[in-house]
């Protein structure tokens, strides 16, 4: 079942465009059944993973390399799978409303389902190779989604940027996984998790660690690879709501959480992750505070949230992991909801610039309530799951040592700023005096409302029934991340203690900052203008640089002159033979003077004369005849050396060559004479002699080695016995190596067809050297 579940989204994606052509936007209702079915399917695993259990399965993929198509479901992957399919269902519905009437809506459904399938495959993968394949598939499908409005250059740029950054990260991840494979000898996650300290103790641990981080940090938009994430907001809002809050960017976090049991608890892990995560958290919130676009504000808070998750994962204590788990669940729900709210506002009011919005609460009450619920969860207020997450984070972080204090402060500042941004998005457009918007705002249809409302209610229920939800979701997931049993018990009833005071402090700080948001915004804008350069500009510079470099290289190498190409090839050929020979001292011995019979010498002489005559021929007839002479000399050689078949063939071929050459040349009026300058003649002569000489040396060297006659002996032995033929050459051709010959006659036939096609194509221009009379139609018809 799970095997088919992995493919279901891709199969449905195939039919999405056709279905959308028939049902228009209502196809969403049908298409949403696919992720809904997956959601139900995965709910069935809740019991199996509840007490740290694990379900694995798979089929052999490339048995000779011990690569399987295998999956693993434990607390971590199940929670992810449920988020992906659950939110996926809502997103498909939302897309139905948001892109209603768009001429490529079917294509969009197709892309988003494929993306869902990739993401789901990614979190369920057990084998490393499958993980990598799905990882890259998410990069590719997100490229398609981000560049959905491909007529706009900004979209194209964002799409390419996302693809390049996450694609490079994917390659880094592949290298990392291969290193892990080499260290541990296993290629499956389920086996890797039981290898204990094998990875941590390896001298190559740092290499694996850095390479894996390269994948995780690019995907999860950690500073300084964060720049693609806000740019990806060029995509239609359903994409932003799905890819860049709930799923794609979580892939990096998923990977880190997955590897925490085998890579965590090391100095590198517990230093690098919190530092990069912390910097990303603060940078994300500060950059977000500068924005006025609802989606961009949310995008930067996403970056910040990812920073927080990476920081907590790196912290590694049970409390921190529990906080990360709860925050991940909370974030997926509130951020998906907020993005959809921003999309609704954009869709119904015609703008998402926060300074041009206000007073929409009356016109869009349902959207407003959903926004408010999501913002409360994001701000960490009860009774939503965000509150549980934040309490747990503070429990996990707040310890006495300096390290913990620093990161507690970082978390407080970050959370406060996110509180500000969340409420800015949820309150500013809806409250205050009514502002005139480009469109007359009113409440969206049910397709647009289902998503935010369901997610808001989900956040609420998760927190209200925390005992049930911990048992089924958070505790199994935290256990999987920790690698041993963990227990999460936090509920919405606040307990007096440090965590609560820190929460209250955060809220107080948040309210303070909210009131001075305008000031922060102008301050950040001035600061960034002062810096002037960022990784985003750097990306452009790198791309332009690569294009310029390749143009320069192409201009240097691809001169458009055949002569140059041949010269370069020959020089390289000569060097490729002579240099290794010289370095290895493998020169052939000085050969003894050959003992040929008199007539053989005569033949050599004829061949040599033929060759020189071709070079020095003054008219085309001489050239053709000389070409024939050297060819016939070769034919006589074959005859003398015991190869009658070759000899006959060569005779016929040379005759036919001369005939067709004569036929063509009489009409070409081409002079075969050389028009090279003296200098050119000498240079070309030296190059040709060097290449020819090198080949001679190579041949002499080869002739010095012992000849392995085993194949020949086989053919001699069995030609008559098993192939019933006395002419061994012919037996080899039609029997022993028949398939080879079959390919060769196919080539002969193809070239015959190509020649016919070339001759039959009518001349394009009339400036042909031969004044071509109009074709005789009868003749042409007959020939074709």
């Amino acid at each position: 079942m799970t095997f088919y579940a992995l493919f279901l989204p891709f199969v449905v994606a195939l039919f999405a465009p056709a279905l959308t052509r028939i049902l228009k936007h209502n196809a969403a209702w049908v298409l949403a059944l696919a992720p809904a079915a997956l959601f139900v399917h995965f709910l069935g695993f809740l019991g199996a993973v509840a007490d740290g259990g694990r379900v694995t399965g798979g089929v052999q993929w490339i048995p000779s390399f011990n690569v399987n198509f295998s999956w693993m479901i434990d607390g971590l992957s199940l929670t992810f799978a449920l988020l992906i399919s659950g939110i996926g269902t809502l997103i498909v519905l939302y897309s139905g409303g948001y892109l209603k009437g768009h001429k490529h809506q079917g294509r969009f459904f197709s892309f988003i389902l494929m993306f869902m399938g990739s993401m789901q495959g990614l979190v369920l993968s057990d084998s490393f190779l499958m993980l990598f394949v799905f990882w890259e598939l998410t990069s590719i499908t997100s490229f398609l989604l981000i560049g959905f409005n491909h007529a706009e250059e900004r979209s194209r740029r964002s799409a390419i940027q996302a693809l390049v950054v996450t694609g490079l990260g994917g390659l880094s991840l592949l290298a990392g996984l291969l290193v892990i494979w080499n260290i541990t000898g296993v290629s499956e996650m389920s086996l890797l998790l039981s290898t204990g300290n094998l990875l941590r103790d390896s001298p190559f641990f740092i290499a694996a660690f850095v390479l894996v981080l390269g994948g995780a940090f690019t995907k999860s938009a950690q500073f300084p690879f964060h720049f693609w994430l806000p740019n990806a907001m060029e995509a239609p809002t359903p994409v932003s709501a799905y890819l860049h809050s709930a799923t794609m960017v979580k892939a990096g976090v998923y990977l880190l959480m997955r590897l925490n049991p085998v890579m965590g608890d090391t100095v590198a892990w517990e230093t690098v992750l919190p530092i990069f995560g912390g910097v990303t958290l603060i940078a994300g919130t500060l950059l977000g505070a500068r924005q006025t676009d609802l989606k961009l504000m949310l995008a930067y808070t996403t970056m910040a949230s990812l920073g927080l998750l990476v920081m907590l994962t790196g912290f590694g204590t049970e409390g921190a992991i529990a906080g990360a788990v709860l925050y991940l669940i909370a974030h997926s729900m509130f951020k998906g909801g907020l993005f959809m709210v921003a999309g609704n506002v954009d869709h119904e009011a015609g703008t998402r610039d926060i300074t041009r919005l206000g007073g929409l609460a009356g016109a869009m009450p349902v959207t407003f309530v959903a926004a408010l619920f999501a913002a409360i969860s994001m701000g960490g207020l009860p009774p939503f799951v965000g509150f549980l997450a934040k309490e747990e984070i503070y429990y996990g972080l707040a310890k006495g040592d300096t390290w913990s204090v620093v990161f507690t402060i970082v978390a407080i500042v970050g959370n406060a700023l996110m509180f500000v941004l969340g409420f800015a998005v949820a309150l500013k457009p809806f409250l205050g005096p009514k502002v005139e918007t480009p469109k007359h705002a009113h409440e969206g249809p049910v397709l647009l409302l289902a998503g935010p409302v369901v997610l808001a209610l989900g956040s609420l229920f998760f927190a209200l029934f925390s005992g049930w939800s911990h048992e089924h979701f958070s505790t199994p997931m935290a256990s999987a991340v920790m690698g041993h049993a963990a227990e999460i018990t936090i509920s919405i009833i606040p307990h007096l203690g440090l965590a609560l005071y820190l929460s209250l402090g955060t809220i107080a700080l948040g309210v303070l900052l909210y009131l001075s948001l305008a000031k922060i915004r102008s301050g950040m804008a001035a600061l960034l203008a002062g810096i002037g350069w960022g990784p985003d500009r750097g990306f452009d510079q790198a791309i332009v640089g690569i294009v310029k470099l390749s143009v320069a290289v192409t201009r240097l190498v691809q001169r458009g002159r055949l002569e140059f190409y041949i010269t370069a090839t020959l020089i390289f050929l000569a060097l490729a033979i002579l240099v290794p020979m010289g370095i290895a001292g493998e020169w052939p011995a000085v050969p003894a003077f050959p003992d040929l019979y008199f007539y053989e010498w005569l033949l050599v002489l004829i061949a040599v004369l033929g060759l020189f005559a071709v070079i020095w021929a003054r008219n085309r007839l001489t050239a053709i005849v000389s070409l024939g002479i050297q060819g016939f000399a070769v034919a006589v050689y074959f005859m003398l050396l015991g190869a009658p078949d070759l000899s006959f063939t060569q005779f016929m071929v040379e005759t036919l060559s001369v005939v067709i050459l004569a036929l063509a040349m009489t009409r070409l009026r081409l002079s075969p004479q050389d028009h090279r300058s003296a200098v050119q003649t000498v240079t070309d002569g030296i190059i040709a002699l060097a290449a020819g000489g090198a080949l001679t040396l190579l041949l002499l060297r080869v002739l010095e080695t012992d000849f392995d006659a085993s194949l020949t002996e086989f053919f001699n032995e069995y030609s008559l016995q098993i192939a019933h033929g006395r002419n061994i050459v012919n037996v080899i051709l039609v029997d022993f190596r028949g398939i080879d010959t079959f390919g060769e006659i196919a080539v002969v036939m193809t070239s015959g067809l190509a020649i016919l096609a070339l001759i039959r194509v009518l001349p394009r221009r009339s400036r042909s050297a031969l004044s071509e009379p109009p074709k005789n139609p009868q003749n042409a018809g007959e020939a074709v």
Partner: protein, 139 residues
């Protein structure tokens, strides 16, 4: 090229060469010869005939388009390979039968069929090229 002598001799020469090419083809398995060389001889025969009388008589003489002959040859070679399917042996495995025709035992085999295919491919492709070039010669 169209001298009286040449035009008188050409038909005989061509017929003899075609006959010889078939002979060379059939004896190829045990003596020097085979499909490649046979096809080349046959192609030269037609080239000579074409030079003597022009292209149209040649095309009339062989009835089919030379590329059709080449295609037939390739098909024959492929069939010779595929026949092995019925004996449950790998592609292109040689199969032999010895039927008695008029009391004489004749060896028929898929390698022979394959060689005939080679003959036709070489013959057809090269004739097609030569005829196409000769045709242009005159316009």
């Amino acid at each position: 090229m169209r001298t009286l002598i040449f035009r008188t001799v050409a038909p005989f020469l061509s017929s003899l060469m075609i006959l010889f090419s078939v002979f060379v083809l059939l004896r190829g398995h045990n003596e020097p010869g085979g499909g490649f060389i046979g096809g080349l001889i046959a192609a030269s025969a037609l080239a000579i005939y074409g030079i003597a009388f022009g292209v149209s008589p040649v095309r009339r003489a062989i009835r089919f388009h030379p590329m059709a002959l080449a295609g037939f040859g390739l098909l024959l070679a492929a069939i010779a390979g595929i026949l092995s399917i019925f004996s449950h042996v790998p592609f292109l495995t040689g199969l032999w039968i010895y039927p008695k025709i008029f009391g004489v035992e004749v060896a028929l085999s898929t390698p022979m069929m394959f060689d005939i295919g080679v003959y036709f491919v070489v013959f057809g492709s090269i004739t097609s090229t030569a005829l196409a070039l000769e045709e242009r010669e005159r316009d």
